[in-house]
């Protein structure tokens, strides 16, 4: 048993040597999945966020000090995120950036809310750059949470609108989605917009998430309904295998997707992907070349997938910092949050701002089509995302949910 004690004593001794508290530099904690299966997404978010902060620091930082950024690895689970949140709070973080998962988003936003209730003098801001669950802007909304990614209805409306204008939506729409909150949000959005874009939902399917290896029974069902287009919020394998199964059955159906631009999708799907649509919050084809080249120079690749969203979100935050001035004194996080509400940021496609009612960002949505002959082909193929139309944020967004009751600081 004495070994127990020496181990415990050694651990205790390690813990006592805590860092001393210094004067106020702005501290940002990136709590992301940096190990485990979601690393690829988590790494992209951390890279993009750090890129923006590095630029701010190159221009003199904030409050007379460089902004301090620290990465915390949540290992892809909510308990890990809860641990790292407490560590970040103990380190004196003012801002938390996260985005690779809605489950972890739910944990972080709730931790932030409770921390702010219990420590009203040291509040923390949560910048969500990737968690798309509606509930985070609904029942779980609060003043210190800012959501810079879109949600199911937010992307579905512009997708439908542009596909309809292009004549690719047709009258018969098939809805196939994953059976959990995200997929159900998608299905609801597809059904709700039937009258607006004048189509009929011929069938709607919800299937298990990432468990189906063979989509051919689903394709047979799709074939029997003879739809003009299939709208799906599927991601990863569920999107890939579905598209391949449709391709193998030689069906000429246009897909409207949300996650086609995940790295690897186009390469894996091959020519099957051509002509399909994707609604995303940015498209590199439309961005200023100097900016994307600078990004590539710093990080080794062009901004892809979730990176533009992160650049937008953290970009608006950095813009808001320019509006507040604490003269080297103590940082008032509430003042930064209020400044974020009143900031408009040009993300290269148009202006974006944060809606006061639920702190959902109003961002322009680009609808693109997979096509050859683009400036930036992806995944080492000939294909890339040809922008069809950019829909302004105000035209794409849905009204704030009633379930969001935000209490503002006095």
């Amino acid at each position: 048993m004495p070994r127990w004690i020496t181990t415990a004593a050694a651990i205790t001794a390690l813990g006592v040597i805590a860092p001393a508290v210094q004067a106020e530099p702005l501290k940002i904690a990136i709590i992301e999945s940096l190990s485990g299966p979601q690393t690829s997404t988590g790494r992209l978010i951390a890279t993009a966020a750090e890129y923006v902060i590095d630029q701010t620091n190159a221009n003199g930082g904030f409050n007379g000090e460089p902004i301090q950024v620290k990465e915390y690895d949540n290992a892809g689970d909510t308990s890990g995120a809860a641990t790292k949140f407490r560590e970040a709070a103990a380190d004196g973080a003012h801002v938390i950036i996260q985005g690779a998962s809605s489950a972890i988003g739910g944990q972080v936003t709730e931790d932030v809310r409770k921390h702010n209730i219990r420590n009203p003098d040291n509040p923390i801001i949560y910048i969500n750059v990737g968690a798309e669950a509606m509930e985070l802007r609904g029942k779980k909304c609060h003043f210190h949470a800012f959501h810079f990614t879109t949600t199911a209805p937010y992307r579905t409306v512009p997708l439908m609108q542009v596909m309809s204008e292009q004549g690719d939506l047709g009258k018969r729409v098939y809805s196939i989605n994953q059976n959990y909150s995200w997929g159900r949000d998608m299905e609801a959005a597809i059904v709700d917009n039937a009258d607006r874009f004048d189509y009929q939902v011929v069938d709607k399917v919800l299937h298990e998430v990432n468990r189906i290896q063979d989509f051919s029974p689903f394709v047979a069902r799709i074939k029997s309904e003879n739809p003009d287009s299939v709208i799906t919020g599927n991601w990863s394998n569920d999107l890939l295998l579905l598209m391949k199964a449709v391709g193998d059955a030689n069906l000429d159906i246009t897909f409207g997707t949300i996650f086609m631009d995940q790295p690897g999708n186009v390469a894996n799907a091959g020519d099957v992907a051509e002509g399909h649509y994707v609604a995303h919050s940015s498209n590199i084809e439309l961005l200023d070349e100097a900016g994307t080249e600078a990004y590539k120079k710093a990080t080794g690749h062009y901004p892809v997938f979730i990176e533009p969203t992160t650049l937008n979100g953290v970009g608006l935050f950095a813009e808001a910092l320019k509006k507040v001035n604490f003269d080297g004194g103590d940082i008032d996080v509430n003042e930064i949050a209020l400044a974020m509400e009143n900031t408009t940021f040009d993300n290269g496609l148009g202006g974006m701002h944060v809606r006061k009612a639920d702190h959902q960002a109003v961002i322009p949505i680009v609808v693109s089509q997979v096509a050859s002959g683009v400036k930036y082909p992806v995944d080492g193929t000939e294909l890339g995302f040809k922008p069809i139309k950019t829909v302004a944020g105000e035209d794409a967004i849905y009204p704030a949910q009633d379930s969001c009751r935000m209490r503002r600081p006095k």
Binding site: G15, G106, I117, A133, N179, T299
Partner: protein, 429 residues
């Protein structure tokens, strides 16, 4: 026995006195370690004592967590008055019921079939949960807030730590007391020879259900404590990862000894907390530790400690000191070499490094062990070899010497117990 009691009391005193001196990050890590320890102890009742390897214990952990989060919500909205300190009782009750029900089916079979049934039952919950938003809260999960109770606000992590500590100490105490009861002895007999229990006139199936249910109940307490500390519950708690982690904790700690899994859970939880803050390769290190323990100390960390305690009067400690010191040194050399290679590869193969190379056109030196290393300098790659080769050689020599000393002791006096250390070193039965 007296020494063991003193050691446990001293450890307890440390667990009570130390946390206020630590930061909230460490306090929270200790809460997680305590919860993992209780979960592993409850799991080991089934595996180590009952001889039933379950691969789906996350189910009962999760049921406890969701029960408590629902109850906490009712308390928060003022529907039911229920003291925060007693919340784990509710989790325990529901997990006990679920455990009895699941146990009824699972324990009809034993061995691999039993493991598969438990796995299937847990997967059932894991695939059901995301479809049932009202009960499990969908992707974003359920959330609540701890309400004040007994004069404590439970707003600070420290108060939650003491609440967790009290519950974990009481439950582990109860689990230990259980092993001393006649029914606890019956549980051990169940593991050793189920047939014999039947011949003695006991109802083997009934006994197994009770053991399963009690194990599920204490797992439910652990889940409840997690819900109280996180103030959230998410259906990911039902994932196979959670079930696998408790198996890992139990076997690294040693399932044949009561305190083994508790040691394993504490060591690995704190290891994760410390190492995941330093390197992204912490899962690799955790895996290496697991493989090494399984290969060279199949009875786990607890088994190694126990072998030494049992032999403390028989071992020639003075003559063992030198080879033990040598083994430690050689072990450190091998560990340093491994860490150096893994960290070097992590840095050199990272995207950031590749981007820097593309930007500047040169392979910049990188820092490991507070020293700068050139990627293409021969010494950089000679350095781990210089540590590894002599390290492995010395390790073999040291262990050969230790083996002789343990064996000699074997010949001299008691031959029975010393079979353990040979097994310990050679790694197998």
């Amino acid at each position: 026995m007296r020494y063991a009691l003193i050691a446990i009391l001293a450890l307890l005193a440390l667990l009570i006195i130390a946390p206020p001196l630590l930061g909230t990050g460490w306090q929270y890590a200790l809460i997680n370690a305590l919860i993992a320890a209780l979960f592993a102890a409850a799991f080991n009742l089934l595996v180590g004592q009952g001889g039933m390897l379950s691969f789906g214990h996350a189910a009962y952990f999760g049921v406890g967590a969701f029960t408590v989060i629902h109850l906490m919500q009712s308390v928060e909205y003022g529907d039911i008055p229920f003291p925060t300190v007693l919340l784990p009782l509710a989790g325990a009750a529901v997990s006990l019921l679920c455990g009895a029900l699941a146990g009824f089916f699972a324990t009809m079979r034993s061995g691999v079939y039993f493991a598969l049934v438990t796995l299937a039952l847990a997967e059932l919950l894991h695939s059901l949960a995301p479809h049932w938003d009202e009960m499990f809260g969908g992707e974003a999960g359920l959330s609540s807030m701890r309400m004040p109770s007994l004069g404590f606000t439970f707003g600070s992590t420290l108060e939650v730590y003491y609440l967790t500590l009290s519950w974990v100490v009481i439950c582990i105490g109860l689990l230990y007391a259980y092993t001393r009861t006649p029914f606890g002895r019956l549980t051990l007999a169940l593991r050793d020879n189920e047939q014999r229990i039947r011949f003695m006139g006991f109802n083997a199936h009934g006994t197994k259900i009770v053991v399963f249910a009690i194990s599920a109940m204490f797992s439910g307490v652990a889940g409840s404590l997690m819900a109280i500390s996180n103030e959230t519950a998410n259906y990911s708690v039902f994932s196979t990862q959670v079930s696998a982690l408790v198996v890992l904790h139990t076997f690294v700690g040693g399932s044949t000894i009561f305190f083994g899994p508790i040691v394993g859970a504490c060591v690995l939880s704190l290891f994760t907390f410390v190492v995941s803050g330093v390197t992204h390769s912490w899962m690799l290190y955790q895996g290496i530790i697991f493989v090494l323990v399984m290969l060279f100390a199949p009875k786990g960390i607890g088994g190694v400690i126990q072998a030494h305690i049992e032999q403390r009067h028989a071992l020639p400690w003075k003559r063992l000191a030198a080879p033990y010191a040598l083994a430690t040194l050689a072990g450190l050399m091998v560990a340093c070499a491994t860490v150096f290679v893994v960290q070097s590869l992590e840095i050199v193969l990272s995207r950031e490094y590749a981007a820097a190379v593309a930007r500047t056109g040169e392979y910049a030196p990188y820092t490991v062990f507070a020293r700068e290393w050139q990627v293409f300098h021969p010494f950089t790659w000679l350095f781990p070899v210089l540590l590894l080769v002599p390290g492995l050689y010395l390790l073999r020599r040291a262990f050969a010497r230790i083996q002789t000393l343990w064996d000699k002791d074997d010949d001299d006096d008691n031959g029975d117990i010393a079979a353990a250390p040979r097994e310990l070193m050679e790694g197998g039965h």
